[in-house]
Symmetry: C2
Subunit: 571 residues, 2 copies
């Protein structure tokens, strides 16, 4: 392709709409353009990267025995009603009526549709296992679409669904996907961690996320500094640091006036105490009833563990009115002492608070010198706090947890029978008994993978594409294309590369070489061949890698050979 | 791929929902399944065919210098309002509101979006010409979706848009697309005609359709029996057959009672006259005013020519009340004699009707012995009838028009400045003058191309795929896979084919060979290698082509070589 003909509208200035590096650089490199909030046009260079990633996914999914198909985007409401998700999904689900006023949604995910297909077409154990996938456009009306391709309202996703005879079969299918995902992200040139994750609204018992490590990531990851253990902050387990038992008597409780002091920070300043002394009391509404959750002042509550402990999804921080009703006081002054008719659940660290401070259940008042067992008791004591840096790793001896940030590019789920049971996706086993299929599902955000790559791989000049997903491998750039000798050598090298299957651009544009190379560095092409008068005097051309390193002068006749070596080595 | 693992739910019986061969066979071969009216799931075999066609399109578009990109499916209403199509498109356009009540539609075509992109990104003549294309899912809420992938509500289309500096540039771009389309449909193995067509709601001055010849086609095509001339029935031009001038005096006009005789057929029976004697009078409402259109009884009116002649799109057959108002009589009794305040337009053949019959503009009455010039005159005489078989070809000497039926798989348009002018897609020319881009657009129905292929290529046993777009090239089918020698030879041949890049299936299923081969013929795989005990005694296997011909016995070690020869020859 000649650069003069390519639609590549690069920008000199940083566009104001972009907050993160990848968004900024994809706009500046002319790879994407915004059509509406969270809705992007993929321009030729952007489309090529998406195709590269899609093809890697396709090859690895096929290698793992999965079969590609294509499901519609317009999905009938009936199917979503069968699983109850028509109502659960809320405004994120884009709904539409056809000319006959039949209800449809634009698919944000395809569990219902694929389960419906399998229940219609699969009858016998002989047809299982089955792993079906598609690379398709999804729609989610995100409340806050942002960061370009990172969180869009229309985006390309690979989604796969496995159907097995039983749980052991699912284990095999899941492991195959785990392996395929590692190969995919390795081939994309990404540094990532596989973390235990919350299955969220997709559901199922167990899931793992593939997280690309990046400072700009939206997600917090806890991982061990010694072993492979990693989990989302919410899901991270830990072995607590040993707490020294404090001794000595605690004075009687005392109520102190704390006018307008509602938060831990305010209290810390006002009473000049350590947050470790505070008993944070978070009133929750659980299935309509009040529950007081006690956490040490320096800890964070793990909502997901709380839900698991209470065996309910219907758990939320209570509204002010509800708190007033349950404790008699406004928000900010709750505490466990004297609290009646409210279930109390405490994190394991709370009973160890020797001489504590907590709310008095009265406006503008707290209580000091509070002691567990003497002044209050919890109905349940369990692990409820979020893991913290320095906590011991739950899976090895002596490793400590470290926090880092990541971008979720893949998510794999053991769904079990959540959908197959509701939708009656069954098969007849060897003995002719009707049995429910056991499912897994496996997603990759294709556009997000491209964006995450840039978050990990760029410099002040622009994108640095790993060779595996670069839109083109090489640019041949003569210093002056209108100079006959340079042009002749450039075209010759360009054609030899093209004919040997290397994806190559020819910079035949007018203008100064400096400005043109700036463009080429911005779009991140891995290898440049620069052809100038000085080198040509010795029959040489310059080869320069985008990722850095010295300029290499090679005989012009050896350019192809040299490039081949670099690309083979690089991928 | 092993057939036992492939999701290929073939059906023994013809499904009742299918009216045409391609729909029936795609369902029976387990290639597609219906999710809702006009909305289909592409199962693995169906998806592969769609991919094959897409890749052929991609290669030929790239070869023609077009650049692939991907535009969104969710399109903001504002853009469609700019061209006025938001209102014009009617119910076929699927409209949706996002969570902020902003209006979008699901793209049925992308002229607005691409023109918007180009007006934002193209500034200089140096950036032109540009040809941008995508292969993408389109949405049209068809009032009568039918025939499977032939006319769906959600379907895959390749759409391309060219932008040129001027009309000469458009000619070049258009010709390149014409050539690319011919290569694409040739590679798909299709028999087709390129016909002059009506641009319809897409607009522009000139368009051609690529029509796959098939009896089940929805469109009528007129083509010359000698030269390359072909056009849609509506667009077909012709040189009329010479009409013999009849002589002799015509008696005075006479009114005859014709109670309840309203149609040409009824009149023909009632008066026992030749339809060639009848002056069919069709009252039209044109921009709110009545126009009487006269056509000989045996001819059909060409609505599209009438619109062109009247220079109006607002032309329709009048409603009964309007006819009564204009002529004083109910429907079925209109005629030109004595008609006042109504413009009269006659086809060129009408003045030649020697002794005619027409309506009396009175209920239950006609007039006989009507003569042009004496009893009535037209305000305009022009070509208004549809071409007929036997008419002389307009483009060669002595060729005659023949009618055939076709399926539109591609449509190319010279749009001119219809969109670029409205949306101000301009560039600065060499002299710095702002100039409007000249556009073309070019579509291919990908799923429809697959269906059209089957309409042209099937037999009683199933589909016969041309090798270029077959889901797999070869099936290796042992008579009994559990028999060790057969299995060993089968696996060996399968692997050797697989490794040399041939797309091959291994029939490892249980069951009788007869039933299994029925499945394989149904899905239309071009080549079968059958491995049975009789052949193996002489170290031979059978090679059989789906398209017919003799069974060939070859040495098992020569199978790969033989298959290679067949596939190279076949494509």
């Amino acid at each position: 392709m000649k650069l003069s003909a390519l639609l590549m509208p690069t920008l000199r200035e940083d566009p104001s709409e972009a907050e993160v590096v990848s968004h900024r650089l994809m706009l500046r490199a002319g790879m994407i353009r915004r059509l509406a909030a969270g809705i992007y046009e993929l321009l030729p260079l952007g489309f090529r990267v998406i195709q590269k990633i899609s093809n890697i996914i396709r090859e690895e999914m096929n290698r793992a025995g999965a079969q590609e198909l294509l499901l519609p985007a317009l999905l009938p409401a009936e199917l979503w009603r069968e699983t109850g998700r028509w109502d659960v999904y809320g405004k994120e689900l884009m709904r539409i009526e056809d000319r006959h006023e039949r209800e449809f949604c634009l698919g944000p995910t395809h569990e219902e549709v694929i389960t419906d297909l399998v229940r219609r077409e699969v009858r016998s154990y002989r047809q299982l296992p089955l792993n079906l996938y598609q690379i398709q456009t999804k729609f989610r009306d995100e409340i806050r679409p942002r960061f370009g391709l990172m969180r869009g309202r229309e985006f390309i996703m690979k989604d796969a669904y496995s159907f097995d005879r039983d749980a052991e079969g699912l284990e095999v299918s899941y492991r195959k996907m785990d392996e395929a995902y590692r190969r995919i992200f390795n081939r994309c040139g990404l540094k990532y961690k596989v973390v235990e994750a919350d299955p969220g609204p997709i559901g199922g018992g167990f899931s793992q996320e593939f997280m690309v490590i990046a400072e700009t990531g939206e997600d917090e990851i806890m991982h061990c500094d010694r072993c492979e253990y990693a989990a989302s902050h919410e899901m991270a387990r830990f072995k607590g640091k040993d707490q020294e038992k404090e001794k000595g008597t605690v004075p009687k409780i005392e109520t102190v006036k704390t006018p307008g002091v509602k938060t831990i920070e305010q209290l810390q300043k006002f009473l000049k105490i350590d947050p470790k002394q505070m008993i944070k009391t978070l009133i929750h509404e659980v299935e309509g009833k009040p529950v007081a959750v006690l956490i040490r002042g320096d800890h964070g509550l793990n909502e997901s563990r709380l839900k698991k402990l209470l065996k309910s999804e219907n758990v939320k921080l209570a509204e002010p009115d509800f708190i007033k009703m349950a404790t008699g006081a406004p928000v900010g002054f709750s505490g466990p002492v004297g609290l009646k008719n409210v279930k109390i659940i405490a994190d394991r660290s709370v009973p160890g608070i020797h001489d504590g401070v907590t709310g008095a259940n009265k406006e503008d008042a707290h209580i000091t010198h509070v002691k567990y067992g003497r002044d209050y008791k919890a109905d349940v004591v369990d692990d409820l706090r979020l893991a913290e840096e320095g906590d011991f790793c739950p899976s090895c001896d002596g490793g400590k947890l470290v926090m880092t940030r990541g971008i979720e590019v893949g998510h794999i789920f053991k769904l079990g029978t959540k959908y197959s049971e509701k939708m009656k996706a069954t098969y007849l086993d060897e003995s002719g008994r009707e049995t429910v299929c056991v499912m897994g599902c496996y997603g990759i955000g294709v556009g997000r993978t491209a964006a995450a790559t840039i978050e990990q791989s760029s410099d002040k000049d622009g994108i640095i594409w790993p060779a595996g997903i670069a839109p083109y491998h090489v640019v041949v750039a003569p210093v002056n294309f209108s100079e006959p000798e340079q042009r002749e050598v450039a075209v010759e090298i360009y054609e030899s590369l093209f004919e040997s299957g290397i994806e190559v651009l020819l910079d035949d544009r007018e203008g100064r070489i400096g400005a043109r190379l700036k463009d080429i560095d911005l779009i991140g092409i891995p290898v440049k061949i620069i052809i100038g008068p000085k080198g040509l005097k010795e029959n040489k051309v310059e080869i320069k890698l985008r990722a850095g390193g010295d300029v290499k002068l090679v005989e012009k006749t050896r350019a192809l050979e040299e490039i081949r070596k670099i690309l083979e080595h690089g991928e």
